[in-house]
């Protein structure tokens, strides 16, 4: 799932300088689940903006809405009426949602309230960790289901860097596990340690990969 975090309030506020009527729109999918941009957070941000404006006597009218999935045109369409009433939009969706809104309503500036960080999963209440970097060339077969591209701080593809700390911790961030230690242990458990010998070629970044596009076969 896409994980995002809300930007600092001052940053969001500064984007809105000069605007008097705005729409804060949340998304009911990934960012609701990772507690960053759902209906609740829309309410909180709107409340903060009102408190901040009242404090300095600024005029600010805020409309609130939450779209089920902000990356679907049909769903974004539903807030059309509210969009027409405002000068600018603050989107609390991931980067995809923000851009969908921006594409749909080209006449209105759309500002991001979140920083989209990674694809990840919950580790505990309120904690999400990165698991996938969307590299487009999945190698999880070779690494026992643990991705070195994003879980190794250096993104090494052929084993640890040699700086692994005691307890299997990463040289760069001792709070984190060394991904290659995890991979080794996992393959050992599965009796597939021979896979460690596989040499993985460096990823080919020459081929134009961005912006990505996928054409699926018939549904």
């Amino acid at each position: 799932m896409i994980i995002a975090e809300r930007k600092r309030f001052e940053e969001i506020r500064s984007m809105l300088a000069g605007y008097k009527k705005i729409l804060v729109v949340g998304c009911g999918t990934c960012v609701t689940i990772c507690w960053a941009g759902g209906e609740k957070e829309v309410g909180i941000l709107a409340s903060q903006l009102r408190l901040a404006s009242n404090k300095v006597g600024d005029e600010l009218t805020i409309l609130e809405a939450t779209v089920e999935r902000q990356c679907e045109r049909e769903m974004v369409e539903e807030v059309k009426d509210k969009v027409q009433q405002v000068e600018a939009i603050v989107s609390m969706a991931c980067g995809v949602g923000v851009q969908t809104m921006a594409d749909m309503f080209e006449g209105k500036p759309v500002f991001p309230a979140l920083n989209t960080t990674f694809m990840g999963m919950p580790e505990g209440e309120g904690v999400w960790t990165e698991k996938c970097g969307g590299c487009g060339d999945c190698m999880l077969y070779w690494t026992g289901g643990i991705c070195p591209v994003v879980r190794c701080a250096k993104g090494l593809l052929n084993g640890p860097c040699g700086g692994t700390r005691r307890g299997g911790k990463c040289e760069i961030d001792p709070e984190k596990d060394c991904a290659w230690v995890l991979i080794y242990r996992r393959l050992e458990k599965q009796g597939r340690l021979d896979l460690m010998r596989k040499y993985y070629e460096p990823k080919n970044y020459r081929a134009v990969k961005r912006p990505g596009k996928v054409q699926a076969m018939q549904a």
Binding site: R8, K40, I44, Q48, A52, K55
Partner: protein, 130 residues
């Protein structure tokens, strides 16, 4: 003890502890400022961050979230969640340029009427000074 719109202290009181303590304070005829408005909740964990912020939007000068003592919540984690939300709300208030001390978490037992009164009076003082 003046009564003005901007002087209100909203006290979200858990019905198992703080609400009972407030009742007891009344039975003991302990006096406290009249700008306190008690909102009864089944558990301090029912109080959300948004409730706290909206209280300020409606003109409250201070907010107290009052629940059971840690370890004694019938719903196990209600008062712990409330404490974390109060901390979060205080941070959100500071982000907006308001004083984070205006919202506080108070833990008490159902018979500690004096503690209830003390908490309310402390918040009233806090507000006066700012």
């Amino acid at each position: 003890m003046s009564v003005g719109r901007d002087n209100r202290i909203i006290a979200f009181c858990c019905e198992k502890s703080a609400y009972l303590a407030a009742d007891r304070a009344g039975r003991m005829r302990l006096c406290y400022p009249d700008n306190v408005r008690i909102i009864r909740v089944p558990c301090a964990g029912r109080v959300g961050t948004l409730h706290i912020l909206r209280a300020f939007e409606e003109g409250a000068a201070g907010v107290l979230v009052m629940g059971c003592q840690e370890g004694a919540c019938q719903h196990l984690t209600g008062n712990l969640r409330a404490r974390d939300r109060v901390r979060y709300a205080a941070a959100l208030l500071r982000e907006v340029g308001m004083d984070g001390e205006r919202v506080k978490m108070v833990n008490l037992a159902p018979d500690t009427a004096e503690k209830f009164v003390r908490a309310v009076k402390d918040m009233a003082e806090e507000i006066k000074e700012r």
